[in-house]
């Protein structure tokens, strides 16, 4: 009996280990054979079977293809997926339970890259984007899959701006002037209902209140070390 359970457990472990460690390498290649201008470069998969993992998308207008891009499909087998274009790594994602779950990263043509975390196909927590040098370029905070804050940094690792988002609309930007360290704050969104009308402090944290919700922000010097988005149902202004 023990042996039986041991065998079962072993098989499960083996299976889990196997499935979690499975890496799928997907290769795409650009080619310059536009079938329909103004599409300049098309993409194709090196291996046709990879179409089960990747879908190619075109954008265009009035019936004309203009750009092509790929997406990893949803509900893929668990494992680690690495996508290469012209043999250069472009993306790495982790799928668990048929969904994006875990760390992921993307690599861009200029050498910069980003790391992020998905939970049940929803981006969550903090995503980081770095210059090719490895210095932080951008820090994005998500809440319930929605972008809340983007902090941008220079290549000298100096803070440049914080931008707050509500429903993908930037509602507040704090810009840091290069030369004198001046902070320029702009409630730049003309969306009248989203312009903050109150600003307060709670326990040393700043509170930016909007009709749809409030940002609770903790600063350290000019850096934001914590930012929470509380919809209006949670805190009334």
């Amino acid at each position: 009996m023990m042996n039986y359970f041991a065998i079962i457990l072993f098989m499960i472990v083996i299976t889990i280990q196997y499935s979690c460690s499975k890496t799928y390498n997907i290769y795409l290649q650009t080619y310059n054979e536009p079938k329909n201008t103004p599409l300049q470069n098309d993409l194709k998969l090196k291996t046709m079977r990879d179409t089960q993992f990747v879908s190619l998308w075109y954008t265009g207008d009035f019936g004309r293809k203009e750009h092509v891009y790929y997406n990893l499909r949803k509900a893929l087998p668990d494992g680690n997926y690495k996508v290469y274009i012209n043999n250069v790594l472009k993306e790495s994602e982790t799928y668990k339970n048929g969904k994006k779950n875990g760390n992921g990263s993307k690599y861009y043509d200029d050498g910069s890259y980003s790391t992020f975390f998905y939970k049940n196909d929803t981006i969550a927590g903090v995503a980081l984007q770095c210059y090719a040098s490895g210095i932080l370029k951008q820090r994005s905070v998500f809440s319930s899959g929605n972008l809340v804050l983007v902090s941008s940094y220079s290549e000298q690792a100096e803070i440049r701006s914080h931008t707050f988002y509500i429903n993908e609309i930037a509602v507040r930007t704090e810009k840091f002037n290069d030369s004198n360290g001046e902070i320029i704050i702009k409630d730049q969104n003309d969306n009248k209902n989203e312009v903050t009308n109150r600003e307060s402090k709670i326990n040393g944290q700043k509170l930016y209140m909007y009709p749809k919700g409030n940002f609770i922000v903790k600063y350290s010097n000019n850096n934001i070390v914590d930012c929470k988005w509380i919809p209006t149902a949670g805190l009334k202004n």
Binding site: Y58, T59, G60, D61, F62, G63, R64, K65, E66, H67, Y69, N71, K106, D109, S114, F116, I123, A127, Q129, Q138, S140, F142, N146, L147, V150, T163, Y165, E168, I169, A170, T173, Q188, N189, D190, N191, K192, N193, E194
Partner: protein, 1050 residues
Amino acid sequence: MAYFFFTEPDKLQEIQHQDNAYGPISENEYRLVNLYSATTSPKAFAVSGGNLLVQENSANADLVNIVLKPTEQPDLDLPKISYIIYKNILKSSIIDSQGIIADRSQNTLTKKIWESFDLQTAAFGDNPDVDLPDNPLPEDVLGYNYSSTGTGEDLALDSDSLDLAFYNNVNTLFFITAGDYLGDFQADKFGFLITTEKIGSNLSFKAAREAETKLSFTALSLDATDADKFKRKHDKEDILSYLDSCAFFGSFYAKGLNVDNGSGSDVLTGQDLFDQITSKHYNKDKVYIDIRNEYYDSLNYYDDLGDNLYWSLDNTENLVQVNYYRDNWPVLTLNNSEVDSANTDKNIKLSFIKNEGTTPLIYFKRAYNEDVGIGDLPQGKDKFVELADETDENGFAILPSDILLPSLNNEIIANYFQLKYFSKITDDPDETALISKRAYPDNLFPIFDMSIPFNQASTGSYFKLYYDSSYIDKTLVNTADFSVNIGIAKDPELTTLIAFPFTYNNNVQRNADNIIPIGGMEEPAGSLFLNSLIQKANSVKLVKGSFLIDGVSRDYLKFEPNDDNTTTNQIGQNYTFDDVAIITLTDSEFAAIKAIKETEFPDNYKVYLGLDNIVAGTDDLGVSYTMFKYVLKGIKEDNGSIVQHSADTNIDAITDLKIIGQEYQRNPEELVGFVNLIDGKTREDSFIEKIIDIKTVVDDFITQIKGVDINQPSANDIITSIAKKSFTLLWSTAKTYVQANPSNPDDRPLYWGRLKMQVALKQLPFFRSSVIGSNVITDSPLDQLILISEECSRNYLNVSFAAAPTGSKKILVTGFDPFSLADNIEQSNPSGCCALALADSIIADNIGYIQTMIVPVRYPDFDSSKSSTEGMGTGIIEKYVGPWINEVDMIITISQSLPGDYNIDKYSTATRRGDGDNLNYQRVRLSHCMDIGDSSNEWIITTLPASFIVAPVKYNWTYVDATGAFIDNSDQLHPPQEGAVLNEGSGSNYLSNEIFYRVAHLRKTARPELPTGHFHISKLQSSGQDFSGTQTQDLITKVKTGISSGVTGL
């Protein structure tokens, strides 16, 4: 105006001898005066009011001649009488032996002069500063000082123009009134001479001095060249400045002539006039049929109309050839003996040469015709009679209206008729002709023969007008054609040439320009002619306009309505100046042109200011212009022949006026379905016929507008009313059909039907003035009507949520026209199909109510720039969608994307790619579509609810940043930066992005929370593929499902 017979008829010899009669004496000699003999010295009467010049008779010092310049013209439609000369007056009846004005008892003239002298003496006799003579002197009041041997201002050579005396500001000639007794003729051989105005002809002092006036030539040698013969022909045209006084007085046949009766005067007409006046002339039964060409020369002066015409004098249809020049002189006369006695109507049937490709019409300057009847002269439009369409084997076409000859007792009586042979402007003039016109201002002004008679000071403004002297055909320009007055003005800055209507043939726009209150003008120092002109007209002002052509600014002058005019001009007319043609030349330009003329052309012949290189176009801002170059055109001798000649002036001009006329030419959008034929039909028609009710709307509309009498004052209102009704019906018919036939929701019949109906409007002759080439002139009446047609057929103005169920969400949906039709003429636009199918529809459970409109794929509609290459601004979206921002619950713009797409685009951008639209217009690549205000409006995100996103509908998160990098932000790691330029939004950067952006911009400004966005839907037809009703029906279902789902998120 009352005119008088010039002498006492009772004293005239019963029959004037042929040798005394006006007319041809031989091939080389023509008598230009009627000579008379009387029993005793008859009195000379002023035939009209006017100024008098008295000159010594060069043949007899005891005789003088009197020159009368009439200030009144007889109401007979005659050419303008310029001078009348009384020949062989007894000097003693005006000037006594002492050289002073004869006793006041002599006649009315001497009486009035003495009375005037008395008044002058009474007023100034005691004034030491006024040097009055002891007696009135003929040199002071009658210009008797002018002589060929005089000195200083008294010198007037025989060759000098009489204008020298009559336009002298210092010595004003004495004025008399009609009927005044002027003096006494000698009994034997006294004369009466009448001259008429003709550009280039000036009556000289010689005629005022000689006892008899003839035009005489020596016979041409046998080896005379064609050029010599033409020169002779040209010189003989001088007789066209004279009138036979017999015909002149006979022309009063119906209106009446004042004739002395010994104690006063009687007004004689008809038989009485004939018995007492006309019958005493040798030419008593001669009618002059003076036919001029368009340039006021004789009919065939330029050898283009032939010497012959055909006529019938027996009231039959058998026309026989007659040589217009049969008397060897350039005027046709007809004697009673030639008219068949059986022709009791005394009508003449005429046919004229009708050169291939021409449309001639005969202008009844002065002649009775059967349309109006004998006694009344044709007026206005009745003066113009177009030759029949058909020509005989000789190329002659009948004049449809017979000429009627005045007659008594079945015999014709003396009269003077003048006809003019005008030709309509043709696109393809005969370039080999000695002179031809390409455009209406072309060859209009014989610039160096138009002389200003005033004694000009360098600082004054002077203007000479020649009445009814030419013809302008603007039929292809603005449907008008008319005879014109032309004039020339000189002022300290400019030489101005002006032409304006005298008699309209067609004037559907009802311009009042034919009664502009100007005649000859002499304005004080410092005046400018154009200022004087607009002061008199008062309804227009002169403004400087500017074109931008290839980035270079070009100024021009134009007339605009004077909205500031607070005073009414003297006869209260609002002159539009639409039919007033004005050319201005600076002094240096005129001098340069004159130098070219003197170098390039002989002195003899007229030289016209012509136009060449006429180009109509639109400037960088879409404003229509016409550019051309001035040339001099005329004739010259070349190896013994006369040939056409032109010379460049190197003077360019530009105007906002339409110069060259042509029918409206279909623009590229209208053309693409017109040139493609299928089964002998245009594709346009074949698409329209796909919905028979649409075809009916289109056909009925075209029938109705073509049936409108454009000459009625309310024509524009009637056409507008028809258009409003028909274009509205077009939309409703298309909508009704699509909704009644869900498996065939075809948007194309609406699209092609609209185009065909609009083309029909644009090609209406009524709107000729509103089009240049394939452009409709901005703010023109047609432009207004096209706007109405768009508003009605695209449902811009009939959106209404009045029928929305209570509590339902109000949803405004837009679609687009078909496009890329050059690639696939079968192309539908599924978004337009959706707009038709979803119009007035209710979403399940009454949660939403949809209203729709369809917009064109044309930049000018979006940015209001008519430029084909650039533009930025607001347009139809702001105008027609804008008002709904605060009225609806959601706005969804729809357009065609890639096959299989059902995308809600995330980002719209203000940036345009600028690719060609349905008009083949483009916009500057990566330019802004409008003024976006601050940079925060570089891009705007959709506010459509996420509830749309139910398969197959998905978000399109992509965009292209300013570096050109294509970014997919579906991971939200790369949202576009605030203020960042996006080269492309999620739906690219063509008009589907633009409508998305424009609505978003409106929303962001006025009502940020309003859900608006773009639904980019599947393309269904690949190249060459036909429309599929069932596929489109399926697409519409998907779209409606998407919208229904979207509404749940509101």
